[in-house]
Amino acid sequence: MAEQFISRGFKGRARHTDRALKERIPPGQYETTEFPVLSAGPTPRVPLERWDFSIYGEVAEELKWTWGEFQALPRETVTVDIHCVTKWSKLDALWTGVSVDTLLAGIDLAAQPVVRYLIAFCDGGYTTNLPLADVRGGKAWVVYEYDGKPLEPMHGGPARLLVPHLYFWKSAKWVRGFKLVRKDRPGFWESLGYHNYGDPWKEQRYAGD
């Protein structure tokens, strides 16, 4: 819109007086201290003894971890801000899990530079696509604890992907593995009108944004 439209009489909530906090909320988002639950389908429940995490696709050898093996991997605890495309943002969310760097450490990615994307796949059939560059270098984790407690199924437990610099649908709940691919391919929401990349700071909510 060429000229900014002002909504007559709209004041909005009290603004953050703390400039640093205000600058952590991307455009069009509002802060919540709750943890809203949104999902496309029912919550899958997989017993931990049948849970595993695998990396396959363009890899010399498929990698697979059982729940116990996954727990034994080096863990990191991170405090990050998360931004859902439905407009809520949550600041300082505390997560514990395994860095995706750790998971990919056994794969010689330098030897196959044409492999540049991954598809995260999940219980329940959900998928989301990400450039490999966006999950490497300390930018993404597979987390199994939230706020110091095991991740609840409704929030994606036993384990979910955490990619805080993109809209939260990229942080797939109930994640079970990655397929490494050469060619980008839209995942679930990315095929249904949502943006392929999803940068909240550029407000890439929907296809075409």
């Binding site: 007559r8 909005g12 909530r13 455009p27 439905t86 249904l192 009108g193 944004d209």
Partner: protein
């Protein structure tokens, strides 16, 4: 590359009280073709200092209607819903864009019984912030 959903200014042509807390806004839009039942729109409010708030609302009117309807439930401590339910008058304008979403939708060609679906759609709209 898909075309960007552009913000447009809708004019409130009617306000309907649905329940003590919920009102339907019937909007005239300059550029609206059609939608699928279950899709939503994003509403954007802008204050005088440039501050903006966005929320999503389910589309409550059936596809093909001349006007677009959203039903808004007033949340007591809400930021946007009290404005939409109490602040707006017929003739006021609000910015919105859509239709959005390709999953929680129904195609009438697949429908065997539209009644409950229409009802659930209205209920969903009413329960949404």
């Amino acid at each position: 590359m898909a075309q960007q959903l552009k913000w447009q200014l809708g004019t409130v042509v009617e306000i309907r009280q649905e329940t003590p807390k919920a009102k339907s806004l019937i909007l005239d839009l300059p550029d609206w073709t059609t939608h699928l039942a279950g899709q939503h729109v994003d509403v954007r409010l802008t204050a005088e200092d440039g501050y903006e708030a966005q929320r999503s609302y389910s589309i409550a009117s059936p596809p093909g209607d001349k006007h677009l309807m959203i039903t808004v439930d007033r949340i007591e401590d809400g930021e946007v819903s009290p404005y939409l339910t109490d602040g707006l008058r017929v003739g006021d304008r609000i910015e919105l864009r859509g239709p959005i979403g390709g999953y929680f939708v129904w195609d009438p060609r697949d429908a065997r019984n539209d009644g409950p679906r229409y009802f659930s759609l209205r209920a969903e709209a009413a329960s949404r912030r």
